[in-house]
Structure formats: C-alpha cells, structure tokens
Amino acid sequence: MTAISDRRQLAYIAAQAADARVNVELEAEGMTLNIGPQHPATHGTLRIVARLDGEQVIEADPVMGYMHRGYEKLAEVRTYPQVTTLINRIDWLGSFANEVPFILAAEQLMDIEAPPRARHIRTILFELARIANVTLFLGDMGVQLGAVTPIFYAFRDREHILNQIESATGGRFHPNFDRIGGVKDDLPAGWLAETKQSLGEIRKFCDQMEDLILGNEIFQARTRGIGVIPADVGLSYGLSGANIRSSGVDWDLRRDGAHPGLAYNDVEWRVWTHPDGDSFARYWVRLQEVRESCLIVEQLLDSMPSGPIMAKVPRIIKVPEGEAYVETENPLGVMGYYVVSQGGLEPFRVKIRSASFSNMSISPWLLKGTYVPDVITILASLYFILGDIDR
C-alpha cells in the first residue's frame, strides 16, 4: 500500500535487532516464559512474555492484538445507530455500558436531551451492566488464586441480573438498546419488582464473597501488599475505575463528571476508596461498588418517572459537524468516545478510550520484580477484558 520509507525501514530493522539482542540476553540470563496467548489466566488472548530469573520476573512485556478488530476503522463506515452494535462487543461482560458514552457523545453533537424516563432506564441498565460485570470479577479472582468454587456462585447470581437485562432489552450480553435521544423500548410490566428481588440476590452474593474470599487468610496473604500502585503513578498511567480508587484517589465520573444524559445526580450513594493500592484493595473496592450499585439501582427504581422514552429525533440520524468527547464511569473504568462528525450519516472518526487499555498499560511497570504467582494475582486484580484492550 504505502511504501515503507527508509526511516521506517530503519526503525523496523533496529527493532528487529533489539529483539534479537533481547533474545540473546534471555538465553544467557534467564528463562523466557510465554504466558499466553492461550493460557487459563489471561481470560482472552493476552500474551505476556516474561523474562524470569528463577521465579522472579525481570521484565514483562504484554503482547496484544490477537483480538484487535479495528472498531475505530469500522465505525467510520457505519451509521451512528449501527455503531452501537459494534461497540457492544468491546467490554462484553458489561455491554450496555459501552453504548452509553457513544450515544451521549452523539446526543451532545446533535443537541438532543433524552427525556427523564429514558435517562432513568439508561442509568439502571448501566448499573446492572456494572453489577453483571463486576460479580464475575469477584468470583474470577478466586479462581485465579486457586479457589474454584466462587466463580460458580458468581455465574449463578449474575444470571439474575442477566435475566433482568434480557427481559428489558431482549439481549443477555449485547443489548444494543440505547438510542440517540432515549432508549429502544419501555420496561416490561413487573420489571421493577423483579429487579429489586435480583438485587437482593446480589447483596447475598456480596456477603458470601466477603465471607468466602475476602475474609480468607490465604487470600489476604496472597493479595495484601501485592501489586501496589501509588496514586501518582496510577494517574500518570491513566488508570481508572476501581484500580485508581483503590489507590486512594477519590474520583468517580458518576459523581464528579455526571453527564446530564444519566440520572446519577438524583441518587444518594458514596464512592469507596482504599488507601493501600494493592490487589486486596482492588478486590475490596469492587465488592463495595457492587453494593453501591445495588443501592443506586434501588433508588432509581423507586423514583422512576413516567413519560416518553424517546426525545424528538429525526428519522434519519445526521449528526451536525463538530467534535465531542464524552466519558463515563464504566465497569472497568473510564470509557470515552471522541466523536468527530463532518455532518454525515457516519462518524468521520471515532476514538475509543477504553478502560482496560490504560489499566493494562501499567503492567510492565507493575510486574517487574514480582513472582510468577503474583503476576497472576496482579493481572486478575487489575481486571481487564481483552476486548476492551484490543478493541
């Protein structure tokens, strides 16, 4: 296609030479352990090339791209409503949450505001997606540390939430429910009461996990002081979500940057932080967040306004020229879309700022000097979804 210039070629040759040199060093100094791309601990196809001295990691280099789907390019040839189908697949455990910031960005460009009921439904589904996502983490962390049972509880109780998402949207994993100017459908009858029941199950699950995992001495021994991220390092690497809050940074976009398209300002809840910044803190913060999410959803269910679920939007969505960046606090951290429109039916450019990408970018720094078992602990506690890294 484009001819490779001399400079590019030189850079390429230099990189190859550097790789070869690294390989020689590896042979001499230690062992290269290739964790992934198909490995039980990488939930997806992340590959970590770790250089080991005994069991200590001298250098860890994550290699991505095994699942890179090029959504930024694909979004350029799709209409705005079609893009939501794509971006559903970024963080596949909390799919609905992926749609929201993109829709909000489009709404911001079009200067449309969703009616209050749509905002409430959106926020409820957003939080349900968070619960569905993070419950799985709460169980999965156990599996990574060798306790196989909690994950089954997580799958069992996540089902309650998925059932609610399914009965409201028709899709268990990929709802594709958010629309520019509102949501696709109204809630089915009896949904509010059923959702409240499911929240009870999730609360029970949280208590169970607190007993089974958080209170376990072995779990504490394995996670306390492991993978400590100081707050300023975390900030400069762009960590977000529970990962940065567990380092003591009190920053949650649901409270601090609440977008008018979501109903977070109508509810009372608190942002949990933890001063330690280690793997234990990350687990603890996420556990508390699930509980807070239950609280948020419950309040929203009680204060559900009546009215239309769609604003007045044109039949064919044409977004006026402009640029907008909207970010929200997604289950994995801050997710944002930088949408550039040139007035057409399709976005001119969509930059997807996904949480796991930034969260994982700290891993070479964090994994240096740790032991192989701790690599697994740290990766599990950073909690990435591969689709969210590779996009």
Binding site: F152, Y371, I376
Partner: protein, 352 residues
C-alpha cells in the same frame, strides 16, 4: 461353612495372586468411588451445579466414559521430550501409590503384608512419587512443567517432615511401628480409665492428626497447596504435556494416593479396621475375630470416605498459597509444632 472357608489354607502362589488382584481392587475401587462421589458429585453440589447426569443413573457411569475417552486419546510426546523418562514418570508416581497400599491393613488377617516397621515403609515409599514428578517435570521439555516439577519437589520434601513428625507422636503412644499394633493399641487402650471407645488417637493426638492431614493435603498437591499444579499459572504443572493414558495414570495416582493417605490416617488416628470395643462387646465377638476380616474393609472404607471428604472439602473451598508462604508454613509453623507435639507426648507418656 463360612468358618470352614475362613479356616481354609491356600498355597503361597494362590495367596499372592489373590493379594495382587486385591491390591488393584483396593487402590482402584476406592479411587473410583471417591472420584465419582466427591470430585464429580459433591463438588458439583457445593458449586450449585449438577455434575455429570447423562452417563448412567445420576452419571454414575461417567468414570467409564472418562476412562474410555482417555484410553483412546493420542499418546503425545513433546518434540524435545526425553522420551524414556517422559514415559516412565507416571509409572513411578503410580508405583509409589501401590507400594503405599501394601502396608495398609484392612482386617486382622486381611493385610497384604504385616511388617514390623509398617509406618516407616509407608512414609518412605510415599516420597517415591517426588522422583516421578521431578522426572515428569524435567522430561516434558516445557517451562511450565519444569516450574511445576521444581515447585513440587520443594513442596513435597518440605511437607514430608511434618508428615513423619506427626506420626511420631502416634508411635510413641502406641509403642510400636507396626500398623496392626497401632490399631490394637487404639482399640485396647483407655482414655483415663474409660475404654468403651478405646483410645482413637484423633482424640489424644489431635494436634498430630491436624498436622498429618495438612501435610497430606500438601503431599497430594491439593488446594491450598497446589502450587505445583496451579492451573491458573502453570496450566497443569508437571502434568501439562501428558495426555491420554499417561495423564490417566497421573490422575489415578493423584486420587488413589489421596485414598491411601486417608486409609493410613484412619489406621493411625481413627482405629483402622477395628470398631469401638463397646460394639464388639454388644455383638459378642472378639475385637479381632475372623468376622472383622469382612467388616474391617467396610469400616476402613467408611473412615476413608470421611477423611477424603475433608480433603476435597478443603480443596474446593480455599485459594492456594504462594510457594514461599507454603514453605514458611511448613518450616516455621508445622515442623516446630510437631516437634512440640512429640515433646509433649513423650512427657505425658512418661507421666501416665
């Protein structure tokens, strides 16, 4: 009729052949039972799922299906593997299991062999498996296997010590190294003059029992001591490259060893094949009458199932230790504690 049968004399080759068959039965039948009961079913119920349901009633034939699946799998050797060692390793591991079974008594006469240093032999052959695991880890020519094998060697050697030291308390109390003698001692001794249940050492040697069970858990490389296998880091540790029949042998070795250790623990701490004296008094038979050759194996099986239940219960509840924590736990806690236990037992033995 039955007493005639019991009094029958057999030629040496007949008893040997019979013992050979029984050894395989004694290792494989309990292994199958525990794998089905605990690994397939109990754990499924603990994890709020059903487990196998299709093969046979309640999935009871699942084991045969697994066996068939593993037997017809391709026997893969990794390209750079040390073929001879790679092929031999599972046999070494399994050999340790069978040798361990040799000394376990299932009744007054229903024992494969009755040697005076039974405890010694049991503990000695149990560490043969380390060699097999190291062989597997090295010969696989895989980094995961190597890490797993090395971890396993370090761990098994570390936990061999508390295992042995825990038994020393029992030996002091029984005054014999003979496993039949230990059973007899548990049946005949009294706790402060109260002999209705004899003196099962789980009561008087409770610390020793706990150390023994913990060390067994580690010897079996079961959670929370499964660092050598650690499926979330090392894929499957030293077993990673094995498939088909050889994997099956590791698998049998793992679960049969769990049973044999549970048998050993029930001999050492739960009174073995004997039933409490008040039961034999009720039935009006001697504690080591010929009837016990029939009842004994069932009693042993019951006690074994009880102990393996604990092993699997722990296995599917706890997360795993890191290997430095695991070594610290062995050297800094279990071994001093077991030494203390030996000291206390010795002092009390002299006092009473």
């Amino acid at each position: 009729m039955i007493s005639m049968l019991l009094a029958a004399e057999f030629a040496w080759w007949q008893t040997t052949a019979f013992k050979l068959v029984m050894a395989i039965v004694a290792v494989l039948i309990p292994a199958g039972t525990t794998v089905y009961l605990y690994l397939f079913k109990m754990v499924s119920f603990m994890q709020s799922r059903l487990g196998p349901m299709e093969a046979g009633p309640y999935g009871s034939m699942q084991l045969l299906a697994e066996l068939g699946k593993n037997l017809q799998k391709e026997d893969i050797f990794p390209l750079k593997a040390d073929r001879a060692v790679f092929a031999l390793a599972p046999y070494v591991v399994l050999m340790s299991t069978f040798l361990l079974a040799v000394v376990i008594p299932f009744g007054p006469d229903a024992a494969f062999t009755n040697i005076d240093v039974g405890v010694y032999l049991a503990l000695a052959v149990s560490s043969v498996s380390v060699i097999g695991i190291l062989m597997a880890g090295w010969a696989s020519a895989s980094k995961y296997s190597l890490l797993g094998g090395l971890r396993a060697a370090g761990q098994l050697i570390a936990y061999e010590l508390p295992l042995i030291l825990a038994v020393v308390g029992v030996v002091i109390q029984a005054g014999t190294l003979n496993l039949q003698g230990i059973i007899a001692a548990q049946n005949q001794q009294e706790i402060f003059g109260w002999g209705a249940i004899g003196n099962p050492y789980i009561l008087t040697q409770f610390v020793g029992f706990m150390i023994f069970m913990i060390a067994v858990q580690a010897e079996l490389t079961q959670v929370p001591f499964d660092m050598p296998i650690a499926e979330s880091e090392l894929v499957s540790g030293y077993m990673t490259e094995y498939s088909g029949f050889r994997f099956l042998m590791f698998f049998i070795g793992e679960f049969a060893t769990a049973n044999i250790f549970a048998f050993l623990a029930s001999v050492l701490f739960l009174g073995g094949w004997s039933v409490p004296p008040f039961v034999t008094d009720l039935l009006g038979i001697a504690w080591d009458s010929n009837w016990m050759n029939f009842i004994g194996p069932l009693v042993m099986l019951t006690k074994m199932l009880l102990l393996t239940f604990i092993i699997y219960w722990v296995r599917f509840t706890y997360p795993r230790f890191r290997e430095d924590q695991l070594q610290k736990f062995a050297w800094k806690f279990l071994i001093p504690l077991s030494l203390l236990n030996i000291f206390a037992t010795g002092v009390l033995k002299v006092v009473f």
